[in-house]
Amino acid sequence: MAAGFKTAEPLEYHMSFLKENCRPDGRELSEFRTTTLNIGSISTADGSALVKLGSTTVICGIKAELANPTVEAPGKGYIVPNVDLPPLCSSRFRPGPPGEQAQASSQFIADVIESSEIIKPEDLCIDRGKLCWVLYCDIMCLDYDGNILDACIIALLAALKNTRLPKVTVNKATCKPEIDLKERHELPVHKHPVGTSFCIFQDSILIVDPTADEESLSTSRLSVVTDEEERLCSLHKPGGTSLSAEKLQTCINRATARQREIQKLIEKVLNSVKAAQ
């Protein structure tokens, strides 16, 4: 009966739960799914992390390459994020060039990196005007069950914290870079931005960490990204139902709490990785 109701009237099905202040998977309205984090899962990458938010699974790998800095910014390296939503992760994605959601997500991640100053591009410079690091941050979704943006940001942050760059010296005589793979150093991560996504149902009910079903049925989505100083790095709401300033404040409060939880989680996992080595 319940299964039939869910298929025939998905919105009614969800609303009957939301009216009772709970959700079909047993969570409260402002409760996240279990967040699992695995750092350093790809040994061939310079830094990597795997994040699970309930069944949403996202993996991020960071590849550092040497490049020439651009003429406009000779003292800066650059970061190239890319979010891939392959057909593997959900039936809604088709093979071929990246769809609108993948492109919008990539742009969002790029904006977050730039806004939060998670990595200072100056830190990626090796030799001013001649040599710098490019960090390719490839984020891939393995299982799509909603709230991909939050998962992507956690994966990116954890992977950056895990990144070890080899020492590079420029040989004065030959003008060629010499890479010392044995001597690696950590990347200075300045800020710890964490995203919290919300969905709005029926113009008034706010839920956090939506699943794919909830995302498609909701009337609006909202993502708040905050750092450890409680500064906002992004408030992304691509249209949908309008939101009052009071509701916005509730979202921001929830986001700052979430930031602390995730930062703690990342520290814990990093420590356990270090202890294991």
Binding site: Q107, K237, G239, S242, A245
Partner: protein, 219 residues
């Protein structure tokens, strides 16, 4: 939660012309200072079977940059404009049809996304599509000294510490869309929302005046 903000809201001079193109069903050009966007709307028209939605119209938004091909940045703008328009339009009145909104950037001198939103709203109105409310876009920049500049030029945008664009609805002046760049405090955000809400009053009044001008011949 009252937030005090400077009372004067300065917006650059804006201008608008409706139904200036002959082929589209609705068109408008919107100018804010030196930023200028042209919008054309086609529809309700026949929809491709793959994009058909059984209970509402399919809205497609295309943002064409001044030079080059649309890139990831335009995709993200398209998403913002589309979802804002979807909320304002009564799409359920035209099920299984398609609406296409094309936004051609003519010149970008800052506040581009808000200009796109304003042009889109005027073009949708010109096409006579059923709407539940109007919306307008306001861009706020926070300068290095913490000053809020509404409707910034691109030079002001470059110098700013944070940049926020909001879409405000005409019914309750609530935030429909938000897109930000740079980091800022919660207090600054609230101030910017309040300033945008005040700026929206002026833009909605301008909408009304330009629609009145358009219909002056049939009064």
């Amino acid at each position: 939660m009252e937030v005090s903000a400077p009372s004067n809201v300065s917006l650059r001079e804006f201008g608008c012309e409706q139904s200036l193109l002959s082929r589209p069903d609705g068109s408008a050009s919107f100018v804010q200072g030196d930023t200028s966007v042209m919008a054309g709307v086609y529809g309700p028209a026949e929809v491709k079977v793959s994009k058909e939605i059984y209970d509402r119209a399919t809205l497609e938004v295309l943002v064409q940059p001044k030079v080059g091909l649309p890139s990831v940045r335009e995709r993200s703008q398209e998403q913002c404009v589309r979802e804002t328009c979807e909320e304002a339009l009564l799409l359920t009145l035209h099920p299984r049809s398609s609406l296409t909104l094309v936004l051609q950037v003519l010149h970008d001198d800052g506040s581009l996304l808000s200009c796109c939103l304003n042009a889109a709203c005027m073009a949708l109105m010109d096409a006579g599509l059923p709407m539940s409310c109007l919306f307008c876009g306001v861009t706020c920049a926070i300068s290095a000294y913490g000053q809020i500049i509404t409707d910034p030029t691109s030079a002001q945008e470059k110098e700013s510490r944070a940049l926020m664009t909001f879409a405000i609805d005409s019914k309750e002046r609530k935030v429909m869309m938000s897109s930000t760049k740079g980091s800022f405090s919660v207090h600054e955000l609230q101030q910017c929302v309040a300033v945008s809400q005040r700026a929206s009053e002026r833009i909605f009044q301008f909408y009304r005046d330009s629609v009145r001008r358009r219909y002056s011949k049939s009064l």
